[in-house]
Assembly symmetry: C2
Homo-oligomer: 207 residues x 2
DNA sequence: ACATAAAACGAACGGTCGTGCTATTCTCTC
DNA sequence: GAGAGAATAGCACGACCGTTCGTTTTATGT
């Protein structure tokens, strides 16, 4: 099917444009021009602007997952994998996977008070992301690498905040040390909570 | 002058709308309808959309400053004032000073990769804000409340990130504990760096 | 190679955008 | 309270928005 290939190339570009101009700033005419196709030809792949936005978010999520999670799945469960996820996020920022900064940070702030299907999806995606962070924190607890008193939801909140902070400092303020600052804060926070390997006890229990 | 009063009422509304729909989503026609005046009558106060956006940002900054900074200036310099600023920010979030969440968090992520006068102004505003945070951290060092090894730019980065994180968690994820999470993280971070007044040491337990 | 279905196009629609211009209405000052 | 000047309204323009529809091109299966 040729259609599927075209659709994918549209979405690839749409993701980049949306990371730069926002999901609402993404327009069908402009996208069509950039891809040298007609507005109506492009439009036919989606049926509405909202559907295009939704498909764009889904495409961005695929990129996000494959850039951040796929590489760390081979890391050993627990603390090492948690650190790997954080490093992976910061590397994803450094590599400029989306030209306008983290797609989901931008979409989160763009749609945080705009009811509709798009907002609902953005929220679901971010719930998944925070949920994944929490899960990896819990795994580290189960492996005995983090104390049981650590609140996964609290720690996930803090780590995510530092990531968004890095995006802000890097893309708006053009602080070349933005990512190092986030890295430093993340490392200090995690190491402060870590149970040192020598004295680490294995406490494999399902919560 | 009547014009000045009208202009102010336009900007009051513009700030609210922009916090909800973004500075780009703010349109002259819609704003005129809401204020029951003509597009051209409203437009005449500014001369261009970009000027309206810039005036809106300046109006939002006034609100920001009067809601966050003015109340804390009577706090004693140093650690108490630094804590007061943080508390004040979180209270500002809790009170819903802008209906769509922190105006500047939204504007920061909307314009972080959109060259132009608007972006330049948003950036200057955020530089000022971070600068103010850094200054209050340095004051606390000068007063001997924080160790000299603390890097003001690093700490300001972290505090700001936690504030933005609260905005994200509260407005997109509707987490009613968002602000408490940020508060907890901020308090823990600051207390960890604090040099306890010699005579006033007391045991504190944190849940 | 041909029939058929999929994909892309071109033109047009009603709306809204930002922005001019001119005319009218209101508000201050004397 | 009248005249001057500021403030607002009315209307039109061109550009672009998302969307529809009928046509033409291109790809696919036999």
């Amino acid at each position: 099917m040729k259609g599927e290939r075209t659709r994918q190339s549209i979405l690839d570009r749409a993701v980049d444009v949306a990371s730069l101009e926002g999901l609402e700033g993404l327009t069908i005419g402009r996208l069509a021009d950039e891809l040298k196709m007609s507005k109506s030809g492009l439009f036919a792949h989606f049926g509405s602007k909202e559907d295009l936005q939704i498909a764009t978010i889904e495409a961005a999520a695929q990129r996000y997952i494959s850039e951040i999670f796929t590489p760390v799945l081979q890391q050993p469960r627990g603390y090492p994998r948690l650190v790997a996820i954080c490093d992976s996020w910061l590397s994803y920022m450094r590599r400029g996977v989306f030209p306008g900064g983290c797609f989901f940070a931008a979409a989160s702030f763009e749609f945080d008070s705009r009811p509709g299907l798009v907002r609902d999806l953005v929220r679901r995606m971010m719930d998944d992301w925070i949920g994944a962070l929490e899960r990896s924190i819990r795994m580290a607890q189960e492996e005995g690498h983090l104390g049981a008193e650590v609140d996964p939801s609290q720690l996930a909140f803090e780590l995510n905040a530092l990531f968004f902070g890095a995006n802000f400092d890097f893309y708006l303020r053009n602080d070349t040390n933005a990512i190092e600052k986030a890295e430093k804060a993340v490392r200090a926070r995690l190491e402060g909570l870590r149970i040192e390997p020598k004295r680490a006890r294995k406490m494999k229990k399902t919560a």
